[in-house]
Symmetry: C2
Subunit: 276 residues, 2 copies
């Protein structure tokens, strides 16, 4: 029998799920709902002010499972790559300021006008390699998140857990993995790659794949409303020793973003206990 | 220098690209445009009558690069699986009747209400295994087509060339691969898996990945309008010894399906020569 009161302590709310809320509203809403962890995006942290955000979160005794997100490394020219690196260093510093357990990275896609996928892969590897010294010095783990292959062109050209594992093999200490079920559930190689990832999985995100899916980015489902076998994937992840949060991250322009965020939070709590 | 007149002989028009046309219109349209091969879907073949369709195509001296499509194996119960097998046997017979070089199979997705992806994979394998004796007896190659991972839930749970290669390894003679760039271009493992596939690739489909992509199924691009490095992938495929057609297959509810099919054909000819 799962210990539900303990299990609730493993729920984290990603700010993208309650997009209408500011950081302050997110912190207050989670406190009211008995939720002890959040995963904010940078926009609401920056809007609140980085240092003030850290104090707000510490005062509320909230865990920060991760900061979303850095990355987006490929660019058409050296100036673009340099700007991306600078922005990623700032993201590391923001993650430190709010006490995040890691900074999530998504790869970025093809530079505008490019069809050179292998070149983009190399830019991602080189970008993470260039960021790692700053992250290591700050003692802030980076978590590369494989995104669904349907995002390869314009958002992220690291699309499988195998590729993320390869990057960790190559780049070494300081780089881990953010695993989001939405992006990897379809992969027949998933059980093997989760076992291979082992302790590299440092943050775990959940939502669901809806049938039909009406948009490539903004039509994710609440856990339980789709076809992903969430319990099975969580069991595989926890078998690696992962004992961290389940971060509910739902992009949903037509459904959940239109509802009262407090109601959404309550449903996240229920679904976390019943299906995640 | 590419021999363009020879190369035009390698262009095949998939009936999905000129969806408004009947088989008769497709045959006449291709004859007018100097195109020597077609890849019809079953709907227009059946609408014309199977035997009449064979005669029409033979009389026009058209090559049939493949018949689209069989497959869709997983079902909730034994009756459903039996019905799928029966329908696939008819598809093999139709492919023979029109002189197709192969019958394309797509896997099918999760049965309604199921979250058992591994179970669906097993049903696909078992379904192809059950179909193979009929296909071998008819001397009709089957071509399993890996579909993009975004189709895993509801259309096809074989989503990588690696998975298709594994099925070929397991099921043996009579099963080959239909490779469509749209579904596999994102895969960092593609060069290795194309080399592994070798002579198994028996039909090759092209279109393009648009940025942005507005629909998971019906927003494919004309070759050259997207981000896929078509020449590079074709070179890898031809390096395996593949000397068959490039079948232009474009699902495009908002763009190409709204245009005059004869104009679409002309653009296919031009793009085949300039970018495929």
């Amino acid at each position: 029998m799962r210990d539900l009161s303990h299990d609730l302590g493993l729920l984290a709310i990603n700010s993208a799920t309650v997009k209408a809320w500011s950081l302050e509203q997110l912190v207050e809403g989670c406190a009211r709902a008995g939720i002890s962890a959040i995963a904010p995006w940078r926009d609401i942290v920056q809007a609140h002010g980085i240092d003030k955000a850290g104090k707000l979160i510490r005062d509320a005794r909230l865990d920060v499972s991760c900061l979303c997100r850095g990355g987006m490394f490929p660019a058409s020219d050296e100036a673009g790559r340099h700007a991306a690196l600078d922005d990623n260093k700032r993201a590391v510093d923001e993650a430190v300021a709010i006490g995040a357990r890691c900074l999530v990275l998504i790869a970025g896609g093809l530079p505008k006008g490019s069809k050179d996928l292998a070149g983009a892969h190399a830019q991602v590897r080189d970008g993470i390699a260039a960021l790692l010294p700053h992250a290591r010095a700050a003692n802030m783990p980076l978590a590369i998140e494989p995104l669904h292959p349907m995002t390869a062109a314009d958002r992220a050209c690291v699309n499988t857990l195998a590729h993320a594992n390869d990057l960790c093999d190559e780049l070494g200490q300081g780089l881990g993995i953010a695993l989001d079920v939405y992006h990897v559930w379809w992969d027949p190689d998933l059980p093997r790659q989760i076992a291979r990832a082992g302790k590299r999985i440092i943050t775990y995100h959940v939502c669901d794949w809806l049938v039909p899916t009406r948009d490539l980015v903004f039509d994710r489902g609440m856990p339980g409303d789709g076809v992903i076998d969430l319990r099975a994937i969580r069991a595989m992840v926890e078998a690696t020793g992962y004992a961290g949060h389940c971060d509910v991250e739902i992009f949903s322009a037509q459904d959940w973003w239109k509802r009262d965020p407090a109601e959404v939070l309550q449903i996240c709590v229920e679904r976390h206990q019943s299906v995640v």
